[in-house]
Every structure is written in C-alpha cells, then in structure tokens.
C-alpha cells in the first residue's frame, strides 16, 4: 500500500462515517398527532404515559403513549394492520387505520419532508 492508498482508505472511512451520521440520525419524536377523517382529532405529548380512546368511523380505538412512543393498541377494524404496526418512535413515522379513518403521525421538532403532502 502506498501513501495515496492510505489517503483513499482514510477518506473512504470518513465518508462512510459522515454518511451514517447524516442519513441515519433519526430524530426522536416529541408529539403524536391523531387524525380522524379529514380533521385533526388531537395532538398529544409523548412524555406522558396514557391511553386515548378515539371514536372512529366504525368504532372506538385505543391509542397508547408510553416512553416517547405511540401505537394503536386496540382497533375495531378486521385486518388489524394498524395494531400490528407496533410502536412508533421516530419523527415522521405514521400508522393508518383506513376502515376506521384514523391515523397517527409522530411529530418532531422539525417536520420531516413528506412526499405525500408537501
């Protein structure tokens, strides 16, 4: 290995580390926004542990908040995709329940770029 080779290897390592830092720095979320149909049902802090009952289009669903994470813990929909999605903790993550017309979206300090509506 010559000097230039070592330079390339070092540059490569730096590049990889910078890429990891830039692209994998998941911003933690601070709030969860619950939407019902086309209206915002409410926005809740993720700091408080609580269960929120929401009456959706087909029945009551439960949204749980614990340790800075949020999830659907109970839903009247038949496929239960929203419940199986599990805990959400990063800014920009979302869980939807189409039959019940409910959705959760986690919000951080800065809103992430969203390709669906920007």
């Amino acid at each position: 290995m010559r000097i230039g080779d070592w330079c390339v290897v070092t540059t490569g390592i730096v590049l990889v580390v910078v890429l990891f830092q830039q692209l994998w720095s998941h911003e933690g979320a601070t709030r969860v926004q619950i939407r019902l149909g086309d209206t915002i049902y409410g926005t809740y802090s993720l700091n408080q542990q609580r269960d929120i009952q929401v009456d959706g289009a087909i029945g009551p669903a439960t949204v749980s908040i614990m340790n800075g994470k949020a999830r659907f813990s109970k839903s009247p929909c038949h496929n239960q995709y929203c419940v199986h999605q599990g805990w959400l903790s990063r800014s920009g993550q979302a869980a939807l329940c189409l039959p019940n017309q409910l959705s959760l979206e986690l919000i951080g300090e800065a809103k992430h770029y969203d390709s669906l509506n920007y």
């Binding site: 290995m1 010559r2 390592i13 994998w24």
Partner: protein, 178 residues
C-alpha cells in the same frame, strides 16, 4: 465466413471468462441485503487494467456484465441494468483514476474508488427508476460501507496478483494453442 481473431481478442475472451466464472460463483453466495456483494469479478477488471490497458479492462467488464446476465437469466432485467450502470460508472472512475500519479496510488486506491462508483451508479438507478422514494437514502451508508470494505479487499488481492512473481492468471499465448 471466417472472423480473424488476434491474440488480444483471445486474451480478452479468456479474462472475461474468468470474470464471468467469479461472477457466477458470487451469485450463489447469499447476501443479507440485495446488492451487497463482494464483487470479486472486479479483481479481474483491475488486473487487466494494470497488466494491459483500459480498453481491455472495459471489454472484460462489459462482456462479463452481458454474459453473466445471460447465464443467470437476468438479461435486460432490473438486475442487469443495475449491474451495467455500476460497471459503466466504475469504468469511468477507473479511467479517471488511471491518471493519478502511479507513485502514490496503487490498485487498492482504484479498487476502492471503483467500488464507490459502482454503488453510486446502482443507487442512482434505484433512486431514479426502481424505488423513486427518498427513503433509499437510508441504504446509502450500508452500501458505502460494503463498497469500502470489499473495495479494499479486492484491491489488495489485485495488488498481490499483479506484483507477485508467479502470476496465478496465465495469459501467455503458449497456453492458447489447444
């Protein structure tokens, strides 16, 4: 009709066959993430670039991409396009890298640069065509790490092949007289 072939053609065919064999070998190895592969066939490209010239290396690389995809049944599939994009971009970078001062930069440098170019080409195709979504960015660090790691190893192997007295790849005209 008879096509005249030169010794250079035979040499390119032989080296391309070797690259294809390595590519086949690699296709059998399972990968945790599609696309993260050692790219051992690139050792041959690098070897040819140093031993002969850029044109031969380009021939070997492109022949390898086409022939391997035909053998694996991937011709004109997204896999083939990805492979071709990676090969073309890394050839471009190799061409630029050739002009680096030989005193300081050896095959290891070129191997790493070519590996980065390879994944850059592939990720561009993925981002623009296959998965046009910003989340592809999450994969970039993993691919970059793999490129650095395998680029380094391939470069070291190429270096060993080139600068050892007894070459493992026999390309002398003598052995072509079967």
């Amino acid at each position: 009709m008879f096509i005249q072939t030169s010794i250079e053609d035979h040499r390119i065919a032989k080296l391309a066959a070797l690259a294809i064999a390595l590519h086949m070998l690699e296709a059998v190895i399972p990968s945790p993430l599609p696309g993260v592969k050692p790219g051992i066939a690139n050792i041959v490209t690098l070897y040819v670039l140093y031993k002969y010239d850029f044109a031969s290396a380009a021939w070997v690389s492109i022949l390898r991409v086409f022939a391997s995809s035909l053998l694996l049944g991937q011709f004109l599939s997204p896999t083939f396009i990805l492979s071709l994009a990676g090969a073309l971009l890394s050839l471009g970078v190799l061409w630029l890298g050739m002009h680096l001062p030989k005193k300081h930069f050896g095959p290891v440098s070129l191997s790493i640069l070519a590996a980065f170019a390879h994944i850059a080409g592939q990720l561009m195709i993925v981002r623009l065509w296959l998965i046009p979504h910003a989340s592809v960015a999450y994969l970039v660090p993993i691919f970059a790490m793999a490129a650095l790691f395998f680029g380094l190893i391939n470069g070291i192997i190429a270096h060993k092949l080139l600068y050892n007295e007894t070459s493992i790849i026999d390309t002398s005209p003598r052995s072509q007289q079967h």
